[in-house]
Structures are given as structure tokens and as C-alpha cells.
Symmetry: none
Subunit: 200 residues, 4 copies
Amino acid sequence: MDIATRHHGNRHGRSEAARVAVLEAADDLLVERGFAGVTIEGIAARAGVAKQTIYRWWTSKIAILFDAMLADAAEHFSPPDHGDLGSDLRDHLRQVATFLTATDAGAVCRALAGQAQHDPAVAAQFQSEFAAPQRERDREPFLRARRRGQLSQTEDIDLAIDQLVGPIYYRVLITGEGVPPEFTDALVDRYLAPIRDTLS
Amino acid sequence: MDIATRHHGNRHGRSEAARVAVLEAADDLLVERGFAGVTIEGIAARAGVAKQTIYRWWTSKIAILFDAMLADAAEHFSPPDHGDLGSDLRDHLRQVATFLTATDAGAVCRALAGQAQHDPAVAAQFQSEFAAPQRERDREPFLRARRRGQLSQTEDIDLAIDQLVGPIYYRVLITGEGVPPEFTDALVDRYLAPIRDTLS
Amino acid sequence: MDIATRHHGNRHGRSEAARVAVLEAADDLLVERGFAGVTIEGIAARAGVAKQTIYRWWTSKIAILFDAMLADAAEHFSPPDHGDLGSDLRDHLRQVATFLTATDAGAVCRALAGQAQHDPAVAAQFQSEFAAPQRERDREPFLRARRRGQLSQTEDIDLAIDQLVGPIYYRVLITGEGVPPEFTDALVDRYLAPIRDTLS
Amino acid sequence: MDIATRHHGNRHGRSEAARVAVLEAADDLLVERGFAGVTIEGIAARAGVAKQTIYRWWTSKIAILFDAMLADAAEHFSPPDHGDLGSDLRDHLRQVATFLTATDAGAVCRALAGQAQHDPAVAAQFQSEFAAPQRERDREPFLRARRRGQLSQTEDIDLAIDQLVGPIYYRVLITGEGVPPEFTDALVDRYLAPIRDTLS
DNA sequence: TTTTAAACGAGACGGTACGTCCTGTCTTGCT
DNA sequence: AGCAAGACAGGACGTACCGTCTCGTTTAAAA
């Protein structure tokens, strides 16, 4: 048994078992009962943990959900590398769509994005802990293309990202229409059309 | 004095004064204290209205906020008509950005969009009462251009809208970066580039 | 159905049904589980009442217990009148002993006397709401005897009461020995011995 | 430095320093914040001791308070010997009154007497560890008088004690009036009046 | 001198109850 | 009939202590 999981109350700090149980309970409750069904008391009861233990390590249920999401979010994205910007973008946008619409972490992400609209502090945390790292992942295909000499040095990458992932989030958060591969592929096609000449 | 405002406890139907007071109280509370600060009890107290009166006419605080937003949203948008798709789109996207980032109704809209992430019923209402009518407004410039013969009959208007307004919502809801006219203008420029040939 | 019991939430004030249920629940819990077993949550659960309803009308579980005791305490004592100080005192002291050792209200009284040792505010309330009225009841036999001319005007009645009821409380609260009639009768005999001459 | 105070963690028995610190902390907290302010956590924090150390040596905060009181109670009482029952009783009753009303140990004693009303186990401990030894001390003057031939062999000493100290506890615990020497002296006078003939 | 085991401080743990806030329902008397 | 008022049952909040536990350190008797 791992040292971190062996202890349930000790001077070495927190119980890993409790931490994991809380994150899983929060995740389960969100999926099963929705955001309003995620309560500290409910998490504590389901995780078999005392409320005080939760309050000792997290400031709010939002903080728990961030913890529950972040690792998964990072794991979900595998940087594509097909040696071609178009292929890489198509691949990446599909990953983004899949993450948001078809994973538990994506469900948590949507809930947090929702809560960010209600609370500036959540918005700031969402920005720094999810949006910014995600933006780095979004940039990867472009930077790679640029390194290959396939993309102009003057191309505004951030604008391109807004154009490409913006519509995905829009459909997920606003219209609720679903984001099929045809949609993301079409986005890439439209984006690449005017700059196709600059590609080798 | 208007008939509707004359009665406060009567047999002549609901009190317009109470209705207005509730909507304003909800709006004020949202702006002053954020979404969590909007409670039925708080609205009732600020509006000088009994809780029961609120429950009689609205199903939840969400319903109140929808009421508070919808009229303003419709009023905000004035269909542009410069006889040119580019100009109309630039104008319209600026209106969208202004609505979302700089109006009270936009603040309510963001809050409701947030809540839609937590509650499918809210999402459905948001879709039908805000997103769908708004989509109609978004289509206007394209339909006008098509009627003018400036836009191909085969152009996928809904995809175009996703491409154009999606990035605006994305910046508002996810990155929180703000949406200056330069940004929306650039979106239009990029959109029009490949189809410029099809324009007269 | 009585007006007072008909309403459960209205502008006429509190629900008599809730009031009674709370007092009975508190009483039952004290008898069944002891003072530590009397909790606001426990009372609320057993009475089928919301905690907030309790906090609306009582400041603490102590206040509830006072309410539960006071009416019973007044009812318990029937002023004796045998036309004779000795008989009256014997009767009264037996009533005191019975109240303290053999009634539910007496159990509550002992608990409150206990809590008065822990909290000056409780002590003050105990003094004004129980001890003072009880002292009036204790004085009755002496005042009656004095009116009959059977007791000297100079007799120190309060000292006499301290002498007569003090030992009863002492056995109840400190030694826990029980207070049989033989004991209270002996107290009266010893008290009357030196002043027997003054009696007609 | 004493052996017992030299050790703080060892295999040779408990730390005297910790024991004393705990008792003093409990005493201080009782006096400063009242019975409810005496918590194991509070004692541990103030004594600079781990909670576990407290639980190792005491079963509850009640046990700590008993420890804190008992030595002082025994020390407080110096058996009077004036060769006269009246003088001895007057002296002793004043000591009882002083102990209960004017010493820290008396404050603890009152608190424990209070808690005894809530918990039969405390009552039993109070009876065996305080009331019974105290009763022995109360008997001393009578036994001495009897040995001197000044008190009848048939006199009911326990009844006499109930009559004499009962009113003192009554005033301390119930009426809160204070117990001046005039009061205890009057008790003795009234007690001795009818049996004065049997003396000397 | 080294080992070793009891007591120590610290503090995390699963819990219970606290007193507060808000929910949605209700019942009244007034207009 | 609609209204302001406000009491009601219910449930989650975040806090304070409870009593239990595990840890790493201190210590002095035993080896």
C-alpha cells in the first residue's frame, strides 16, 4: 500500500483516499443529478468523508470540480502530428468537441463555465486553470506548422483559434446543437481556404 | 394613472406595479450582487412584494430573469441595412458584442447562459426564448444579401453565423477577453475573403 | 377545530400545534435520553417541526425546557389549608418533594437547576421564573398561620423556608438520597419544636 | 527539578507537567468562560498539550474538573475544635459557605453539581468523590461533641447535617442569594435551641 | 553505548449539532 | 381575486468540538 493512502489522520497531511473519494463523488453527483445536486453534504455523504475534511482542503464545491476536471482535461488532449496543418487542426478540433460533449470532465467543464458567468472569482480561476492551458494546446498545431515553414510568420494565431474553437463552444454552450466532425472539418476548410496559397 | 397600475389587491388581475417592481428588483440584484445574490426573498423584499405574489406569476428566479431580459434583447438589435453584406455584418456583430458585454440585459443573458449549463430546462428555455429569435436576427443580413443577389443560394448561412458569432460568445463566456470592434471586423473580413468573388 | 390550532403558517402568529409538539418533544427527550440528548435538531425531528420554527420562538433549548416546566410547576402545587401550620407545612413539603423527585416537570426543573450552575443567564431566569414564584408558594402556609394568629409577627419566614425546603433540594441535587415523607415530617417537627409555645 | 516534571515523552509514565497544565487550563477556562467554554480542544490548546494526551489520562472534561477540584476541597476544610458544638458548627458552616461561594474549587464544585443533574454517572461520581467525603467532614463536629459527652447518643446526626448544610447549598444552587455568616450562625442557633438542655 | 518502547506534540480523520439562510407552500385580512 | 405579510416544513450552508487515529520526536531504562 502506498504511503499516501495508508494514513487517515496524521501529521503528514491529507488522506489521499479521502481526496480521491471526494473528487469521484463530486463527479458522480454532477453527472447524475446536475450542478444543483452537487452539495458539500452530498459529496461528504457519498464519499464517506466528513464535511470538515472537505472544508479543510477545498474552499467550495467549485474548487472540488476544478480538481476533478483538470487532470482529465490535460490527459484528454493528445497533440496531433500529421505533418500537415489541416490534418492537425481537424484532429484537434474533433478532440475539443469530443471533450466538451462526450466526457465526464467535459460535463464538469461546462458546469464550471456556467458558474463562471455567475461569479468573477470562478471566471478568473476558469481562465487561468482551464482556458489558458487549453489555449496553449490549441496553439500547438499552428506553431508546429510554422516551424515546418507551412504557416506565415504573420498569421494571427490567436484570431485563428477564436475562429476555430469559438464556434464549437458556441454550439455547446448556447445552441446546444451538438458538434459533429463534419462541423469541425467545415470550420477548418473555411479557415484554410484563403491561406491555402501560402501553404507549400 | 393606468388601470393596470391602479390596483394592488383587487379582483381585476395582476398588479402591473408588482410585476415591474419584481423585474427591476431582480435586475438590480443581479447587477449589484451577482447571480447568487438574486433570491426570491431578496427580490420580494426589495420590490416590496410578497413572496407568494412572485410564485403566483413566475416559476423561479430564472423565469423572472428571462422576463427581465427578453424585451430588452429584442429592443437592442436594430436590423442594419447598408445595402452591403460586409457593412451589415460588421454592424450586426458590433451590436451583438455590445449587447453581451455592455448592457444590463446582456449581463442577465450571460447569467442565464451560465445557468443553462446547470439545468437542461433552463437550457431549453434559453434556446427557445433567446437563442432561436436571436438566430433569426443573425440571419437577417444574409437573407437581405441573398435577396439582393449578393450572396449565393448555396451559401450555408447557419454555418456562417456559427463562424461569426461563435467567436464572440467564446470570448465573452470563456476567455473573458472583451470583444472590440476590431475583432468583429476581422471576423467579417476573414469570412468574406473567400466568397468575395461571388459578390457582385 | 380551535382557531389557534387551525393555522400552520399565517399572519396571526404562531402555530399552537407546533408549540405544543416542541414542548412535548423536549420533555420526552429529556426523560428518555437525558439533558445531553435534548438537541434542537432532535426536538425538531421528533416534533415534526423545522429548526427555524424553533429558533423563531425560543432562544435555546433551555428556553424550551422552561416553557415545558413552568405551567406544570404551578399546577402541581395546591395550597394546603388544614387550619394548622404543622399540617400545612407537612403537606406542602411533601408536595415539594414529590414535584422534584417524581414528576416530569420536576425532572426538567432539576436539569434547569443544573444548567443554572453553568450559565448565569440561566440562573437569572431560573430565579425569576421558578424560584421566586415557588418562594411565594412556600410562604403561603406561614402567611396563613400568621393571619390566624398562630404565628408570631416577628418570625423570620424566609429563614424558616430556607431551613425547611433547603434540605429537600440538598438531598435531591447533592446527595441523591430521595426525600421520603418521614424526612419532610421530621423537618417540620424540628422546626416547630422551639416555637410550639407560641402557637395557641 | 523533580523527576516527575523532567520527562515529556518517555516510557516511564505520565508527564507531571502535562497533568498540571491540563488541570490549570481547565480551571482557568471554567472561571473565564464558564462550563460551556471548557472544551477538550480548548484545554489542549491552552495547556500546550495534545488532545490525545488528555484522552490518555482522563475520560472526559468532567473527570478533569473532578481532579481539579478534589485536592482543593480536602485542603479547604480544617476541622474546627473549640471544645464546643455550637462554636464548631458555626466555624464549619462558615467554611462550607466560603468554599462554595468564594473559591475556585467551589466554582468547579458547583459546575460539577450542575452536571450531576444531567448525567447519572456524574451524579454517582460526585456523590462518591465529593459528597461522601464531605459528609464525613460534616460529621466531625458532632462526633467530637458526642465523644465529649455533649451530644446525646440518640441524636440523628445525618438529619442534623441535612438541616444545617442543606439550606447553604439551597441558597447557593437555587436562590443564588449568597450565604453570609449571619445566615449560617442563625442556622446553628435554631438547631441548637431545642437540644440546649441536653448539652453540658 | 546502543536499542527500544512509552508518552508526547501535532493534527487529519469520520462524525454530530449548531445557528443561519433560502426554498416553495400555506393561510390569513385588507383592498 | 390579487395582494402584503409572514409562519410553516425542509434542506444546505459553514463552524465548532467530539473522540479516534497515525505520525515523528523525546526520553531513560534495559540490553
